[in-house]
């Protein structure tokens, strides 16, 4: 039964396009006048491309970070990448949200922020390489951005190290 299920899922995935799942180490920072976060932890990413010859892709990630507060992180976005035989750098626009964070209130603004620490980031992965038919590595990804709570004053960025992707 499980074999059948796996076969059906695999067939469905193959028919639907190219799926890649990767695991890496993430450092994330959200520093604003009302919300603060600094954390490090694993990042699980799933990327979808319509076909092997398409440059455009979408991806979503789940992070678990610790240091300032323990928090989950969710990101979703889309971008473009070079589909070379080995070197496959990419750039994407992504939205990130961290529900747990340090909150700051002031005399002038005593109301807690209602939304999670959210930001819009541009992720650049210049050191992404295809190792073989199904394995890729992204040595370093940098994602500077702006906070969505108070964009003019909030700095947001993340850095991913050593993400290893498997293509399904």
């Amino acid at each position: 039964m499980s074999g059948w299920l796996a076969a059906v899922v695999s067939a469905g995935l193959a028919a639907a396009g190219v799926h890649e799942t990767g695991l890496g180490v993430e450092v994330a920072r959200h520093d604003g006048p009302r919300q603060v976060l600094l954390g490090v932890g694993p990042r699980l990413t799933h990327r979808y491309t319509a076909s092997e010859h398409t440059h455009w892709f979408v991806q979503g990630s789940l992070e678990r970070l610790w240091l300032m507060v323990p928090t989950w992180g969710l990101t979703a976005g889309g971008g473009v990448r070079r589909m070379g035989p080995t070197w496959r750098p990419l750039v994407l626009l992504e939205a990130a949200a961290y529900p747990s964070r340090i909150v700051k209130l002031t005399t002038e603004d005593p109301t807690p922020p209602r939304l999670p620490a959210s930001s819009l980031r541009v992720r650049v992965a210049p050191l992404a390489f295809r190792l073989n038919g199904t394995t890729q590595v992204s040595a370093l990804e940098v994602a500077p951005g702006l906070g969505l709570d108070t964009p003019r004053e909030t700095v947001a960025f993340s850095v991913s190290y050593c993400s290893l992707f498997h293509q399904w």
């Binding site: 600094l38 507060v69 747990s100 964070r101 209130l105 002031t106 005399t107 005593p110 109301t111 807690p112």
Partner: protein, 367 residues
């Protein structure tokens, strides 16, 4: 802490409620009661999400806080600091404590000054000795019984704690004679108000050695009916000079060190919000900045938040607020022989004391 009630808080401030107005249990049929409970739970959850709201202070509570804060007299605060520091300066350098760091550690003169002040106020107090601890401590306790009949109708069995440590390095005006003097002023004002919750003012011994006084207290008495803890530790140094305020690693604080910081745990988020709101309501209150995390702040980047007597409350998941001028992050005289009264900002200290007294009055009635 009681759960929020979105139906009332989303539509506006809560009306005063007396214990007799609470719905009695057991009158409805079980299935009807269950349905009502489920309905209420859904309203509570979805109402909370949609409104993003928390329990609010009623106008009566804000008025109470404003009046209580306005009763603080500024001039006597600085005079009392000078008096206690002068007394400590004449205390033998080793006091009754032998410190491994070899820094003069004083506590006897401050303790005596507190006892004399309480006697002058005519307030009942007791010294709780715990000589069996690895660091023997003698905490001073003042109990102000609640009435349960204030505008909030909170039960008198619930206790609000106001704490300040009285042991010091050298003759520390800021750390923590300022906190002690504010707590004494709070007693003088709050004892004359008919507040619902009971108030317990604790002058802790041996904080500088590793919060031994508060740990001893919590180990012996636990968290029985404690509603919230407000801890005062170094609250009178301020500077308008740009760059005068430093921040712990990973945090950004305003450049000018002219605000009082309220550090809290997740359980104290409502109390911090109320205090931030009250800082705009209480006349001549100090500017306030609240910082809180979702839980107990026991993480690598926030462990330093536990550096005073509020820590045992945080560790037990109780609402706790650490009021501080941020000590060494602002005050160059922190734990130095130069931490003297003339380095303090009396107007700022008075503003902080107004905020503390007003907030305590509001907390005694809060939802």
């Amino acid at each position: 802490m009681k759960p929020s009630q979105p139906l009332s808080v989303c539509s506006g401030p809560r009306s005063p409620r007396s214990p007799r107005q609470r719905p009695s249990r057991g009158l409805a049929r079980p299935d009807v009661g269950l349905s009502l409970f489920r309905c209420g739970l859904r309203l509570w959850i979805f109402g909370g999400i949609l409104c993003g709201c928390a329990p609010r202070l009623s106008p009566e509570m804000v008025e109470l806080a404003r009046d209580a804060g306005a009763q603080v007299e500024c001039a006597p605060l600085q005079e009392r600091i000078i008096s206690i520091v002068d007394a400590m300066a004449s205390e033998p350098e080793d006091g009754a404590v032998s410190m491994e760091w070899g820094i003069p550690h004083r506590r006897l003169a401050s303790k005596q000054a507190i006892l004399e002040a309480l006697s002058a106020l005519g307030v009942e107090h007791r010294v709780v000795s715990m000589p069996d601890r690895h660091v023997p401590v003698e905490n001073i306790v003042v109990e102000l019984p609640g009435t349960g009949a204030g505008p909030g109708g909170a039960p008198a069995s619930e206790v609000l704690q106001l704490t300040a440590h009285f042991d010091v390095w050298y003759t520390a005006a800021d750390d923590n004679t300022s906190g002690v003097v504010s707590a004494l002023e709070a007693i003088a004002i709050l004892r004359n108000l008919e507040l619902s919750r009971s108030i317990q003012v604790l002058f802790y011994d041996m904080e500088e050695t590793g919060i031994d006084g508060s740990l001893a207290w919590w180990d012996r008495y636990g968290n029985n009916q404690v509603h919230a803890v407000l801890n005062l530790d170094a609250i009178a140094y301020a500077s308008d000079k740009p760059g005068s305020q430093a921040a712990p690693p990973g945090f950004r604080l305003p450049s000018k060190g002219n605000f009082i910081l309220g550090l809290g745990n997740g359980a104290a988020r409502h109390h911090l919000r109320w205090m931030a709101e009250l800082s705009a309501e209480i006349p001549d209150s100090a500017a306030f900045l609240a910082v809180y995390g979702p839980a107990d702040n026991e993480h690598p980047a926030t462990n330093d938040f536990h550096r005073s007597d509020h820590s045992p409350a945080w560790s037990r998941g109780l609402p706790g607020i650490f009021m501080t001028d941020t000590a060494n992050l602002r005050n160059p005289h922190y734990h130095q022989p130069t931490d003297l009264p003339d380095t303090l900002d009396p107007a700022f200290h008075c503003g902080v004391t107004r905020l503390v007294v007003g907030s305590m009055a509001a907390y005694a009635e809060a939802p």
